[in-house]
């Protein structure tokens, strides 16, 4: 086992997604989501929190450790970077190119892998467990494959032991601690500690932090390798799901317990 890097370089992948608080709606004819009210994916906040806690456990930014956040998406995706910087990340990278629109997971992971190579030298890559919109959970594994990194998925706790990462995975029947040598890729679940809310110092400080714009050309990728053209899958059809119906209200007239049991039994939940 080697020593821990003197200065940790951690990368977090953050995706901007529609704000779940607002009604999600489909725009125009294409099966794409309207992103006018977009925010940092709540699940990716856990990844940012994990990265920040890890460097803080080793002296934080003062000790020269760094958390870079990377997003791929249109101009509005800068909100995801901004929020991460407000939480305490060191700097941002924003990959934005018209040709990226409509990328599936394979095309997304290709572009992100090239962006990570371009920035270079990371000891650890953190991702969320899934986006809250696309929800394929494919990107992290594809990235690990493309970058040739060991991967630990669905992690709820991380620490460094020398030059290894030790990560906790909670399954239904057991808890595992998985060890992997750096550099490695880790996807973080919502069972990690609750992400912090930015404080005012963080909000002001974020304005002075740098976000590097990246284009496809800088990564040496052609428009045909990404977007719909570079995708392996396509969304064949897409229609809005019927709104959730109101729940059943059982008023207790002495028989609520029986009614409740019947309700569950009808749905084979008992």
């Amino acid at each position: 086992m080697s020593d821990a890097p003197a200065q940790l370089k951690v990368l977090v992948l953050v995706k901007y997604v529609p704000d779940a608080q607002f009604d999600r709606h489909l725009t125009g004819e294409s099966p794409r989501l309207d992103r006018s009210d977009s925010i940092l994916s709540e699940l990716d906040e856990y990844a940012v929190e994990a990265a920040l806690q890890l460097i803080e456990a080793h002296g934080g930014a003062k000790a020269g450790h760094e958390v870079t956040v990377l997003t791929m998406g249109p101009a509005a995706a800068s909100n995801a970077v901004k929020k991460s910087l407000q939480m305490g990340a060191t700097r941002g990278v924003h990959l934005n190119d018209d040709a990226l629109a409509g990328s599936d997971a394979a095309a997304t992971s290709l572009a992100l892998a090239e962006a990570i190579r371009h920035e270079g030298g990371f000891d650890l890559v953190f991702t969320g467990m899934s986006s809250t919109d696309g929800e394929t959970s494919l990107v992290p594994s594809q990235l690990a494959e493309r970058l040739g990194l060991p991967q630990v998925t669905l992690v709820s706790e991380v620490s460094l032991d020398g030059g290894d990462i030790v990560a906790r995975r909670d399954g239904d029947t057991e808890t595992q601690y998985v060890r992997a040598p750096l550099p490695a890729l880790v996807s973080v679940t919502d069972q990690f500690e609750e992400p912090r809310y930015p404080n005012f110092k963080g909000i002001i400080g974020a304005k002075k932090k740098k976000t590097t714009p990246l284009s496809l050309a800088e990564l040496g990728l052609g428009a045909d390798q990404v977007g719909a053209a570079g995708s392996w899958t396509e969304v064949a059809s897409s229609e809005a799901r019927p709104a959730r119906t109101a729940g059943t209200v059982i008023t207790d007239q002495g028989d609520a317990g029986v009614k409740l049991a019947d309700f569950l039994a009808d749905r084979k939940l008992l």
């Binding site: 404080n199 909000i203 304005k207």
Partner: protein, 387 residues
Amino acid sequence: MPNFELEEEYQDLVDTVRDFADEVIAPVSAKHDEEHSFPYEIVAQMGQMGLFGLPFPEEHGGMGGDYFALSLALEEIARVDQSCAITLEAGVSLGAMPVYRFGTDEQKAKWLPKLASGEALAGFGLTESEAGSDASGTRTTAKLENGEWVINGTKEFITNSGTDITQHVTVTAVTGTSEREDGSVKKEISTIIVPTDTEGFTAEPAYNKVGWNASDTHPLTLKNVRVPEENLLGVRGRGYANFLSILDEGRIAIAALATGAAQGCVDESVRYAKEREQFGRNIGSNQAIQFKIARMQTRAHTARLAYYKAASNMLAGKPFKTEAAIAKLVAGEAAMDNARDATQVFGGYGFMNEFLVSRHYRDSKILEVGEGTTEVQLMLIARELGL
């Protein structure tokens, strides 16, 4: 013309605090209200977010923001929970601010950092049974004996004075008298820092209040309380004047809190009016309900403009006494009026304690009384008009 758009950092603060209020505070508000329990876990998180340090410079453990930032945060929190908002408001403007404004460097170093981080709270004890709107009725005395103040008296209604994390209460006390030209007696009122663990200091059992149930309010008894002479805060004899200047700023914060309450009533009413069906349609499709809510929105909007204006004067270093009094008056009434209208929109449900609008109904009354009653605001405004 001034631009009423918030600068980016203020807007980001508003967004962050709104998320926090909705996600963390709102789910536990009804419980704390019902149990009359102090929300220690919320206070700790507000501390971690730097809310208690908003208007203080970083050297004192603050966030390097200003009073307007605090006001914006209070508005967002008060939408869903006035008790949490007043705990923050009083913690900053009555607890920490007097130390920051009038303390010596040593006093600031000693008392401020834990207040600015929200790890500790402090109270301000002015009101007494005979001294309400008229503080010259103060009977608590402090006598200097062998380098120590010996304090005796009682206080009423002191916010944040009896929590497990209350570090001190700054009390006003009569430290001497002088004779006016007409022969009447003039009291010399000073402010003194009393740590809560001092012998003879007792926070009596909490009041049974109409609202603000999760906010901590106690009568205090001070019996031969001895504190070092250096605990005098500010100049001897300037205690009351100091407190009045603290209250001027505090009114902006209270106005912001009241604006939040008024807005919370609007938001809940809009939602409910769209949802609730009677006579085969949403109650919100009746113009009577629409107009009621439109008027509520107008009050909240007006209250917001009033406190923005007062804060803008204050930050620009201009006089703001009248503007702050107007904002406190308008916003306090907006909260009370909106709470009454919102409970009407909610019908019988508005009379049930667990609903947010009913909580606003109970909580808002004090906004026409605390930190200067409506009548006191009117007196201030009239005085500024030369009446």
